[in-house]
């Protein structure tokens, strides 16, 4: 798996996964929800049963009393017409109604008549058995009780309204639901708090890791009282120590290599300088050899200094030395007033100051100019443009141009354009453009190549360095 793919996969799984703290809180919340559902359910079922039972008992007791009273006051000759006066003397409870049958005649209540009495109660009463049933009549839950009056061909039916019971249960449901929601939220909060407490050591680890990544290599974690966590911080500190040592070793190595390479070069350059000043004492053949020697010494020298520069970036040892640089002067000095180039500078370039590392930016611009000389038939245009928070320096040439595929790799180390011809002839080191890129990056900017303004690909190239205008409060 390539690094890039691995990163993508990592990113994807990051997006899909919830954070540890969210997961712990969610776990607690679900737990709280399940517990409150269970408890509320049980409460509701038990309460409902109890309420209904007691109401049914009361209703049947009251119905039985009234039925007995009715039975006592009836005579074999009684008819439906006698009933209202008897009924008036009976006990009434709120929400209850009664229907009375004598023979085939019915005394209806105000709201209901015999059609509303369920069939199986009627049947039970016909079989001279008392019965009761909970049913819905006219949209209301009611308890229907039927009591046969055995001495007469009559029956007493009581219909009790249970709506108030349902209302009570609805209230209970709302209360239990609210309590359940409260318990769930509390559980989530508890989970959040516990995870926060548990993960606090991990946050310290994160902060320490960020500090190390930010360059404070001597950052260490303090020891933890918890043995499990202490092992973690010990391993972390061990890693940080190893990393710090490694980085210091690399930096020391780069510095030593630098010294070891520069020393012989110093001797070589001084000696070749002596030979150069006595060149006319040498034979033609020796002069040719000396020319070869000094040219390649110069190239070798450049390669060494660029390699050391690159290794400085890699070791993280490269630093900016910012100073205020006048743009017009800078361009003039770097190009040595080359009159074959067209200059397009902002109108206020003479008073425009940028805060940059002069040496690095000069090298970057020189490298672009060198590049244009080597591969693009020489630079044709330098354009400087500024906006609120960046400055762009563009170098154009009228050479063969750079293909889209090559534009991607042209800033890689030791990559040279296919059109750049045979290695060795051009005198380049293959590091120039990657140094431009590193220098631009160090400034917080970037470099890219595009088509010259208003042209098609294949007619020259335009290299652009873009730098942020940092700390420009002039």
């Amino acid at each position: 798996m390539s690094n890039e793919k691995y990163d993508q996969a990592q990113n994807l799984s990051y997006k899909l996964k919830l954070g540890l703290r969210t997961r712990i809180s969610l776990f607690f919340a679900v737990g709280g929800l399940l517990v409150s559902i269970g408890l509320s359910g049980a409460t509701l079922v038990l309460t409902r049963q109890q309420l209904i039972d007691s109401r049914e008992n009361a209703a049947s007791a009251f119905a039985l009393t009234n039925a007995t009273r009715l039975s006592n006051q009836l005579t074999p000759d009684s008819s439906v017409e006698d009933l209202p006066s008897i009924v008036d003397s009976m006990t009434k409870i709120e929400g209850s109604q009664r229907l009375i049958r004598i023979g085939n005649d019915w005394l209806p209540s105000q709201e209901l008549d015999r059609e509303d009495i369920p069939e199986n109660i009627l049947n039970r009463v016909t079989e001279l058995k008392a019965g009761q049933l909970r049913v819905e009549i006219n949209g209301k839950t009611r308890l229907v009780l039927g009591i046969p009056l055995q001495l007469f061909d009559a029956a007493y039916f009581a219909i009790v309204d249970l709506t108030d019971l349902e209302e009570t249960l609805d209230d209970l449901r709302i209360i239990l639901f609210g309590a359940g929601a409260g318990v769930t939220s509390l559980a989530a909060l508890l989970g959040w708090w516990i995870s926060r407490r548990t993960l606090r050591p991990l946050r310290n680890v994160r902060e320490a890791a960020e500090a190390i990544a930010g360059g404070r290599l001597d950052t260490r974690l303090i020891r933890q009282s918890d043995p499990d966590l202490d092992r973690l911080s010990e391993s972390f500190n061990e890693m940080a120590r190893a990393l710090e040592e490694r980085i210091h070793r690399d930096a020391r190595f780069a510095s030593e290599v630098s010294h070891e390479l520069r020393s012989p070069l110093t001797t070589l350059k001084a000696s070749v300088g002596v030979l150069e000043s006595r060149k006319n004492e040498l034979s033609k053949r020796s002069q040719t050899a000396l020319d070869l020697l000094s040219r390649d010494l110069e190239r070798f020298n450049r390669l060494v200094s660029e390699l050391l520069e690159i290794s400085g970036y890699d070791a993280g040892a490269a630093s900016l030395e910012l100073e205020e640089v006048n743009i017009a002067q800078f361009i003039q000095a770097t190009t040595r007033n080359d009159t074959s180039i067209t200059y397009m500078l902002p109108a206020n370039a003479d008073s425009l100051v940028m805060n940059v590392d002069k040496r690095r930016l000069a090298r970057a611009l020189s490298n672009l100019l060198d590049n244009a000389h080597r591969y693009g038939n020489g630079p044709t245009l330098i354009e400087v443009s500024t906006n609120e928070n960046s400055i762009q320096i563009a170098v154009e040439d009228a050479g063969p141009g750079i293909s889209i595929e090559e534009r991607k790799i042209i800033f890689d180390r030791f990559s040279r354009g296919s059109s750049s011809g045979q290695r060795g002839d051009d005198g380049g080191t293959g590091l120039g453009l990657s140094l431009v890129q590193e220098d631009a990056r160090l400034h917080g900017g970037k470099v890219w190549v595009e088509n010259p303004k208003g042209t098609e690909s294949g007619t020259g190239s335009r290299f652009v360095i873009e730098l942020p205008t940092i700390g420009e409060e002039l």
Binding site: S263, P264, T266, T267, A270, V274, S277
Partner: protein, 227 residues
């Protein structure tokens, strides 16, 4: 009398090659391989220019530089092989007038030495200046602050003279690099900054709040004449 150059360099091959290159210019070279020998040689017979390598066995180049600076205002060039910039600033703070990075061109080395020799021979101005309590008597190479004589090195003196002859005008770091050191636009402006700092410790009452040599942000330095 011919020009004498004292070199301190522990690498024998470099020492010999550099001597050859300097002798090509017609200068006399006194070679030493460590700081102790260099100090002994300088006390015996002061040279016109000193070339000090920073990495030396025994006492290091910075210390040699400080000790020689205490003995006189001879021009000193530091030579460094390291890429990090701390060495450069540390060398200048120790009293060096200029520096070279290895590997250097023998032509570049000769140009540096010539620029330093020029500075120590000619003052560049003959008129005298007086700014408030700061007095410059150019032809005698004297500077007085509050009537008390202060001792400046040749480079510091040249820097002050350049600022004084253009007093009230701002000189950019590049201007000063060219006028004092003979560098082109790409000279190291830290040379100017460190020397200005050193100059201030000598001529300013309060170097942190300079009265004479002031910084003009975004432009450079100037010698203030309005108080």
């Amino acid at each position: 009398m011919s020009v004498r150059i004292l070199t301190v360099e522990d690498d024998e091959r470099i020492r010999t090659a550099v001597s050859l290159a300097l002798q090509e210019e017609g200068w006399e070279v006194e070679e030493t391989s460590n700081g102790e020998d260099a100090l002994a040689s300088f006390s015996r017979q002061p040279s016109d220019v000193v070339l000090i390598d920073i990495m030396l066995p025994g006492i290091d180049g910075f210390e040699v530089c400080r000790k020689i600076r205490r003995l006189g205002d001879v021009p000193i060039v530091m030579v460094t092989a390291r890429s990090d910039s701390h060495d450069v600033v540390a060398g200048l703070e120790a009293g060096a007038d200029d520096y070279l990075r290895k590997p250097f061109d023998s032509k570049e080395l000769a140009a540096r030495v010539r620029a330093l020799l020029r500075r120590s021979k000619t003052i560049g101005a003959t008129s005298n200046f007086s700014f408030d309590q700061l007095e410059i008597i150019a032809d005698e190479g004297l500077v007085r602050v509050n009537g008390k004589e202060v001792h400046l090195t040749r480079t510091e003196f040249k820097l002050l003279i350049e600022l004084a002859t253009n007093s009230g005008k701002v000189l950019s770091r590049e201007d000063l690099l060219e006028r004092v050191w003979g560098y082109d636009y790409f000279g190291d402006s830290r040379l100017v900054d460190v020397h200005v700092r050193r100059l201030r410790t000598k001529v300013e009452m309060d170097p942190a709040n300079p009265r004479y040599v002031v910084t003009v942000r975004g432009m450079g330095y100037k010698l203030q004449t309005q108080f």
